[in-house]
Symmetry: C2
Subunit: 337 residues, 2 copies
């Protein structure tokens, strides 16, 4: 059994779900669990796949109660799993930097984006929170893109009853530096304490090359951010990140980041001097450090406002021309899509 | 103003709380917020500290409404903060390994422990969950220690209405190897997928030397574990970790780990061959990898069972002689403390 095709990946996913239950499971529950894992299959399709699994001896049909996985089925998942590879976040970052082709002079091309899924019913309120955070400057840029239910792009389909929002990811700025010939090393996602509107120091860090999870998603899940507090009082904790460049490239990097600022990409928090810590984080020998805003701050703020949101940081590429400046969008209405 | 003493640290913590509000805050709310951050001060004591802050011009008394922080107060926190240092988890691990003095031959001395705080009212149920997980073998050892409300040890005081539980941390085994002269490098906290009761592969990793947060606490907060599922069905995800030793030390390491097993410390999941990946994780040149159980699995299972629990992994040292084998404790009653 090979798992190259989308169908076979779904079969394995169904087997995995069955393996996590020690009683029979019906098609409806399987469909629900599949959706949680990002597979949209209706019950009818699940039943079709289950019949294939029955025929292969990987599941057993217990009638009305549902299916159970067989020993052969368990062996099958095991074989499928050992070929799956574990990947650190830095690999994904480098791949997106390589693929992005944004031209900062022309303001054209693909940028790196974060992606969030929000219930349609909560979207208006969520949008107001995002706008507030972005206008206060706690974002990489004011550019966003909203996808309505049913819309498709790349490998994504916006589920029914949901809206997806893309914000610009700070890795876009790493890409701008990289494509200007600067060897940039994205190093850490972090949390920065802000006092009186001024960033004071990094309070937490996770290395991109030492984690399979996105650091900023982790900080957000652990409740370490207080972006809304920062926007409202000037004090609290924001999500940010840290990279190094060779000290020789400092002048060119500053020039490129200034160029980006001219078209509204203002995510730079601090550019350090050679061999000098940035907000408490030391740099390696003959490097200079740069701290940038986390592009997910507006999305994290939505979660802080107790509005359900599912955020995936450093997720995909989006054409810059398709994004809109949030300051030009009024209170969000259906017509603004 | 210096912040060496406990009193001054509390003053700074009060200023921090005030800085996070843009309206006056009363002593009661401050006491509540302080407790969340681990400081037990009653309202009366908070008022005493607030008067000191008023006198120093760091806060302003607005009467019935409470206090606000002054500009001088904000400047004060800023100065206190810049001297605070950020630390990666590996530093804490190495410090605990250095300080522990457990003698595996004699079964005596200090081991490294995880610490959890549980509401007294939930403790009986939590204890049953922990016991189930430990007896199923998803722990480092069956030894635990329970502290009742009001008890003190090292810098801890068990708060009113709470119980604290210590489980053995897997870093204890790193300490055993280290004190046997083996240069051990704790590398990652991780999640291992278990199928049919057998560990299959690491599905997530975070490096100890690249994170200020404990990796296993992160995985638990992100909902990536399903320890209870593993105990009940043999399938799911457990918390684990990974270290490397020089390949030359493999024989001695195996002998030490066997010795530890003899006294019930059975946390070893897999010992790899030289230059060979362990459960999908590659090792560095001429190293061998060792995967161990996360000592917080029994505590994470409590959280999975929807019982409120606050867990701090790799937290402190505890005398092994003071711990009890959970299999010798019946259903937990007050008398068992």
């Amino acid at each position: 059994m090979y798992y190259n095709s989308g169908v076979d990946r779904k079969l394995i996913e169904i087997l995995r779900i069955l393996s996590e239950h020690n009683k029979p499971v019906g098609a409806r529950l399987i469909a629900k669990k599949l959706e949680e894992r990002g597979y949209k299959l209706d019950e009818r399709t699940v039943r079709y796949h289950l019949r294939i699994l029955d025929e292969r001896g990987l599941t057993r049909n217990l009638g009305y109660d549902g299916r159970m996985i067989t020993d052969k089925g368990l062996e099958e998942i095991k074989n499928a799993l050992v070929t799956e590879r574990i990947g650190f976040i830095i690999t994904k970052i480098e791949s997106l930097i390589f693929k992005m082709n944004f031209d900062v002079e022309k303001g054209r091309g693909k940028i790196v984006a974060n992606l969030a899924t929000i219930d349609k019913e909560h979207f208006k309120k969520a949008f107001q929170v995002m706008k507030k955070v972005i206008l206060a400057g706690y974002a990489v840029s004011p550019y966003i893109k909203v996808f309505d239910e049913g819309e498709t792009f790349e490998n994504y389909v916006v589920p029914k009853g949901k809206v997806m929002v893309a914000t610009m990811c700070s890795i876009t700025l790493d890409g701008i530096l990289h494509h200007a010939g600067i060897p940039v090393s994205p190093r850490f996602g972090g949390v920065i304490q802000v006092l009186n509107g001024k960033p004071i120091r990094f309070t937490d860090l996770i290395s991109y090359s030492g984690s399979t999870l996105d650091p900023l998603e982790v900080f957000s899940a652990k409740g370490l951010s207080s972006v809304l507090n920062v926007v409202e009082t000037g004090n609290g904790y924001i999500l940010a990140n840290f990279r190094e460049i060779p000290m020789d490239a400092l002048t060119k990097a500053k020039e490129r980041l200034r160029k980006a600022e001219e078209i509204g990409i203002k995510g730079t928090i601090m550019i350090g001097e050679p061999n000098t810590p940035v907000l408490g984080v030391p740099v390696r020998i003959d490097k200079a450090g740069i701290a940038l805003m986390g592009g997910i701050n507006p999305l994290t703020a939505v979660s802080e406002a107790k509005i359900p949101i599912e955020t995936r940081a450093i997720e995909c590429l989006i054409d810059f021309e398709e994004m809109v400046n949030i300051s030009r969008v009024g209170n969000f209405t259906k017509a603004s899509f």
